[in-house]
Symmetry: C2
């Protein structure tokens, strides 16, 4: 049985609205309206609008880092590791599309010092991916690609996933989607 606290309801309503309108365009009034109470009540749950953004962004970022760390710490070969990273992205994007959308679209609205903290987390994540690719090249399972370019291309190529799930929760099969993406990233489009 699932119980949701009033605070969780408030945060979910915020998340939904921020996803629809964008962070800056989402007013505290609009969130309150969706909760059916006055603006001032919003501050029973948070101390500022920034709180909402920080909360979701750092929580979901940590989730990606955890998945990545566990995969990197395993004894799988590099290609299997990459496959698992892609799998993790598909799964998180499927389960929490709105949070992932925030990661893609709204992180720029963080204020210092949280902004710098977040950018650093992002860089760390990219470095972890680069590390994986470098290991794969050394193991001779990957081609001799440029690490920076390959890191950017691969991470970028899976950044749209949240959108597929945000639009249609049901029609998308995550397992088949993962298979298709892995096939493309591993083998490219050429026959």
């Amino acid at each position: 049985m699932k119980t949701t606290t009033r605070r969780e309801d408030f945060l979910q309503a915020s998340l939904q609205l921020i996803h629809e309108k964008g962070f800056k365009a989402t007013t505290m009034r609009a969130i309150a309206e969706r909760m059916d109470f006055d603006v001032s009540n919003s501050y029973n749950y948070i101390t500022s609008k920034q709180d909402i953004l920080e909360l979701f962004l750092f929580r979901i970022s940590q989730e990606f880092h955890h998945a990545m760390d566990n995969i990197l710490a395993s004894s799988y070969a590099a290609d299997e590791k990459l496959k698992q990273v892609i799998s993790a992205h598909v799964q998180v994007s499927a389960q929490k599309p709105y949070e992932v959308a925030l990661m893609v679209n709204e992180w720029r609205n963080l204020k210092e010092p949280k902004y710098s903290e977040y950018v650093e987390l992002r860089s760390q994540y990219e470095r972890k991916m680069s590390k994986l690719l470098r290991a794969g090249i050394k193991e001779k399972v990957f081609k001799q690609v440029d690490i920076k370019v390959a890191t950017a291309v691969i991470l970028s190529s899976i950044r749209w996933l949240y959108d597929a799930f945000a639009k249609s929760k049901n029609t998308m099969n995550p397992v088949e989607l993962e298979r298709q993406i892995v096939a493309l990233i591993f083998g490219g489009v050429m026959r």
Copy 2:
């Protein structure tokens, strides 16, 4: 010899600032300050803040469409066409990184009816890419990939390019970058 009108200067300053801070966070006052005059003067060049966004967004969108149309209308094989599309993205991103950044980050700030118009242009572009991929599969130069997934993966995988050029105008060699990306999209990472 290059002459720039005052209006062009104003728009360039706007573009630069919007890229730095985001559209919503960029105030007319801030743009005017960078131009060293009062806010009210800004309205000598535009009639509303929205104008700025519309102007850049539809202009650069058209540029991508033109390139795509010319490539599709050629008699090249599908793989060569795809290569040329990637080449066009690299070149436009290198020459107009801030405009491309707007395409990626700020299109959501358009208001109706321009918003819907722009979304339609975007969809059209995706359909053109899908058409190219479908042709390539029929020609048997591409694998039997899922069209929707492949379209999203490929377009997404080249969306970060503007960032590489916005950061470092000089250090990036567009030709070599293109080669690396084409290699990845065509052949994947696996050895």
